[in-house]
Structures are given as C-alpha cells and as structure tokens.
Amino acid sequence: MSRMKQITARLGAHRVGALIGTSTSSIGRTEEAYTRLDASGRMTVPYCQPDVHHMHSPGTFVVEATGIAGPAMTISTACSSGAKVFAAAARWIRHGLVDAVLVGGVDSLCFSTLYGFRSLQLVSSEPCRPFDRRRDGISIGEAAGFAVLMRGDLAPGAEHAFLGSGESSDAYHMSHPHPEGKGAVLAMKKALERSSLSGDDIDYVNLHGTASKANDLIETLALAQCVGRATLASSTKGWTGHTLGAAGMLEAIIVLESIRTGLVPGTLNCEQPEDSLHFPILSENTERLVRRAMTNSFGFGGNNATLVFGARGG
C-alpha cells in the first residue's frame, strides 16, 4: 500500500490504472446473503452492500484503497483471469493510456466453486497430483496477489521485465480442453512471438497443470510443440491447489521468484509421472539460472493465456 502511494504520487493518480482478475469475486458473501433473505426475497440489512455483490467488487475496493484514478477494470475469464490482466495492462501502457497498472488476481473459497467443481466430478479426494498417473482431479485453493507493471523507462531499478503474452480460445467445449491442445499451442506460440523469443530461449515453464485427467496430458502435448527439451517444466498446484482466477497471478509471481532466485520448483505430489506424457515434467526442486520463464493459465470456455517474463537487461 505504501508502495502504491509512492507510485501514484510520483506518476500522478490519473496515470495509474487497475486491472483485477477474479472468477468469483465476492460471491461468497452473496451466497451467504441468500441464506438470509427476507420474506419478500430481498437481502437483509447486513448484506445490503451494493459495492460487494457484483463482479468488480475487489476492483472497487482496490481503487478506493489506493486512490488510483486511471481506468480500472475487472477481467473475469475463469482460470485465465489472473494472467490476462498482465496482457491487458501491457497494452494499456503501450497505448499511453497510463504509465503503470496495479494488476491483481484474487479468488476466495466459496460454495459455488466447491460444489460446482464437485458436480463436474473434477475434484480429487486427496491433495492433487499434477502429471501423476494416479491423478484424479484438482484441489481448489484461494489466493490473492498483486504486481505493478510500469513503463520501462520509468522503472530503472526493476529486476523483471514482462516480455510478452499470447491469448487464444479453444473453440471446443465449455469445460473440457481441446483434445490436441490447439488453443494452448496458439497461446504459447503467440507469447513467444510477441517476446521475440524461440521455445529454446525459455528456461522454465510453470504449467497450468491442474491434475485433472484431461488437462495435464493435453498440456504436455501442446508444450512439446512449443519449447525445447532443455526447458524445465513443472506445476506448482500440488502446493497451492488451483486458485482459479488468482492462479495466473500467483504463478506469475512464482515464475518471477524463480528468475530472481535461480530455484525452479518441482511438481509436488508427482511421484509416478504418467507414462504417456509428451514432455518431461520436473519432479524435484532444481537450481538453474532462469533468465526467461513462461506461465500457462487455461480457463473454462476454452480461454487461454500464456505470459513470458525475463530478468531485466537479459
């Protein structure tokens, strides 16, 4: 918060925007309100919170808390939300709309997702095992994360650079990925092209890797078409669970940390990797200089986003 105050003071509040990614926003509060409607079907007094029961609820709060006066928007595209905010923010800055954007990814546990994913039989009864042959579904998590994307010349001391992004649609099914990973390939290839990089330039990929039966195998099929064999790839959802709208942000931050520290996370709970994986998955934490890293986020409706980050200045 104090960092945001410094930024809005230096650049001017109108030159800072806000982009928040979330899939369920404050629906948990709405769910609770519905357990206590009055006889006419209206919300009772403690729940009469007009700024809460809508998709831009966290965004409204962030703008009020930070004093950001530039454009503010929520992106809600299921599990790609927290990644797409980076792509949109970079475009706003490139256009000259603003000089910096506070990007966020937020999702809380709520009954909509707990029972919703359960109804789709996508939830494991144990901690999820991405890419493991015994995997049988996701573990749902919650998270919030923020970053500030700023015009390069205004941030001389920044350690990381946002290099590019790729977004696409699967055009296949609302809750099952394209069987050949067509949309995933498009997103990864576009991200590389926009970053002026080849697949061999990527040191580490943080995969979507939810541990659903469908996603993991298909994702390796897509990955094999996009990066080189020297690229390390893992899913960190064994530690965090699938944080849905926040996943793109959480995993971007994990990738930024791997660039900073040279520690590449393995794939927790992947003890017996699926035999037919099309790309080797890193099981154990590994030390490796990471200059450029990529992260995938794929959401319902076949909505895909891939981000590429790098160490600043190389």
């Binding site: 109108h14 899939s23 629906i27 709405t30 769910e31 309100a33 519905y34 357990t35 079907g41 209206r42 919300m43 009469c48 919170q49 700024d51 809460v52 029961h53 809508h54 998709m55 831009h56 965004g59 409204t60 703008v63 006066a69 530039g70 454009p71 503010a72 928007m73 992106i75 809600s76 595209t77 299921a78 797409k84 949109a88 475009r91 706003w92 256009h95 709309l97 009954f111 909509s112 029972y115 919703g116 994913f117 359960r118 109804s119 789709l120 977004e167 696409s168 649609s169 699967d170 055009a171 296949y172 099914h173 609302m174 809750s175 949309g183 959401g299 319902f300 409706g301 076949g302 909505n303």
Partner: protein, 276 residues
C-alpha cells in the same frame, strides 16, 4: 488521436430485436415487444445448454458481423456485463442455500463471466482471443475503451458486446435493471474497410462528468441497466442510417470511466458528405 471504425451493429432487447427495429423505433416512437431469441448459429448440442444470457450475446455478435460482412473466425472479442448472468447467480445461490449437492454441472460452467464468449467461439470455430470484463456501473465505458485499445494496438477487428439482464429481486441493490439489453459493435482498424458506419476518435480525460442522456422513450426502461449507456452511442449512429434524416453521424460523447476519468469519443462519418 487514436481512431477505429464502427462497421457493424447488433442489438437485442424486448423493445427491439435488431438494428433496423431500433432505428424505426427511434423515428416512430413505437417499439416491438416480446421478441423471440433463439440464434441458430449456436449448434443444437450447445444451444440446448445455453442460457438466455448466452443467446442474447451471440445474437448481437452475429448481427454485427453479418452487417459488416466480417467472418468472425479471426476476430477477437470483448464481453462486458456488470453483474454477469443474474438468473444463474440467483438460481445457484438458492440451490447452495438449501441443497448445495444439487448444483448442476451445466449451470456451473455456464456461470463463468466469459460463458457467452465460450459458446460464441465454439459456434464460430474461432480461436481468436476473448476477454470478459466488468466495472459495475462503468462496465459499458471501460469495455468500449478496452475494445478500442485492442483494435488500435493490435491493428485488428474487435467484436464488443455489452449486455445486462433484468435483475432478480435479491440482486437489485447492486443493479436495478428492469429490461434485458444486449448491444454488439464491430470495431475495425480505421480506414481498412469500406463498410464504415462511423469513424471514432477516442481519448481518456481526467475529469468528472455526467452520463450522456438516453433517447427519450427508452430512458425509463434502460437507465437502471448498466448496458443502457450504449443507447446514447447507438442514437448517434442511427442519425446516419436513417434515409429520412440524410445526415451523417457526428458528435462528441463522453462516458464516465470512474469517478475521476472519462472516455471521450469523437464520432464522424468516414467520408464527409458521403452516405454509403
């Protein structure tokens, strides 16, 4: 100033099922009611599971693309709604309050904010990028800005759809919307096609302004609907399409983006004096 062309429009509400009906209504003050909504561009398998919100969005996106004679396959899309599908929110919350185990898987995957774009991409076989956004009362403005920035920065057409359903009683506190409305617009990079309804220059200004007024006769029905703000833009575009007026669209429209910022649109015809 950065610009884009508007090359296609689609609209649907219970007062007007398409652009022609909207323009007739503006001129005559007579509106049609109870229009059916069953866009057959959605394949039968998906259409069975598609909620009204999806049908509304797909209908206006299809109308806009047809008007522009634009193949949607490579067209990126931006969807905006302040509340998302309120019927689904209401239904799911009621189910969760009493029998959570009865939540339907179809209803759950239909509840994501980007569901209409998922169905659209499947119907059109389009792998183009899609984004779904919200900014409460400012949803229409921020969506127009986002679509304009995408169109300009990517030098590529963008299909914008802004819509809102009618609010169930429990959700009225956040959105007092009485009539559903969907507006679709195709933004195309300036000067790249001859099918141009209007050329629009856009900027963002650090000021606090009031909303533009809605056409008389529609204001009562749509002033509470966040997507109703689009009707001010449609009224300006309609100036051009009516043979009776013989005039070109022109004007400056300002839409609040928030408390402190506004979207400024300078609207003109692409070639002064020419009526395509």
């Amino acid at each position: 100033m950065a610009e884009f062309d508007i090359t296609g429009v689609g609209v649907w509400s219970s007062h007007f099922p398409d652009w022609a009906a909207f323009c007739r209504g503006l001129n005559s003050g007579v509106w049609s009611y109870g229009a059916d909504l069953d866009p057959d561009v959605i394949p039968a398998r998906e259409r069975r599971r598609a909620p009204a919100s999806v049908k509304m969005a797909v209908e206006v996106m299809d109308q806009a693309c047809r008007m522009a004679e634009m193949d949607p396959e490579n067209v990126a899309s931006v969807f905006a709604s302040a509340m998302g599908d309120m019927k689904i929110t209401d239904s799911m919350c009621r189910t969760l309050a009493v029998h959570p185990e009865l939540v339907s898987p179809t209803q759950f995957h239909n509840s994501v904010h980007n569901a209409p774009l998922g169905y659209w991409s499947i119907a059109m076989g389009s792998h183009a990028p899609a984004t779904a956004v919200a900014a409460h009362h400012f949803s229409a403005s921020i969506a127009m800005l986002e679509a304009a920035v995408q169109c300009f920065e990517e030098s590529a057409p963008v299909l914008l759809v802004v819509q809102e359903g009618d609010a169930p009683l429990a959700l009225e506190g956040s959105c007092k919307s009485d009539h559903p409305l969907a507006v679709g617009l195709l933004f195309t990079p300036a000067g790249t096609t001859s099918k141009c309804m209007a050329r629009v220059g856009f900027t963002v200004k650090p000021n606090e302004i009031a909303w533009p007024s809605l056409p008389a006769g529609l204001a009562d029905s749509y002033s509470g609907n966040p997507s109703g703000k689009m009707l001010a833009l449609l009224a300006v575009l309609a100036q051009h399409s009516s043979p009776e007026t013989g005039s070109s669209p022109h004007g400056v429209l300002e839409f609040p983006l928030g408390q402190h910022t506004s979207l400024n649109l300078e609207i003109r015809s692409a070639e002064p004096g020419r009526t395509p």
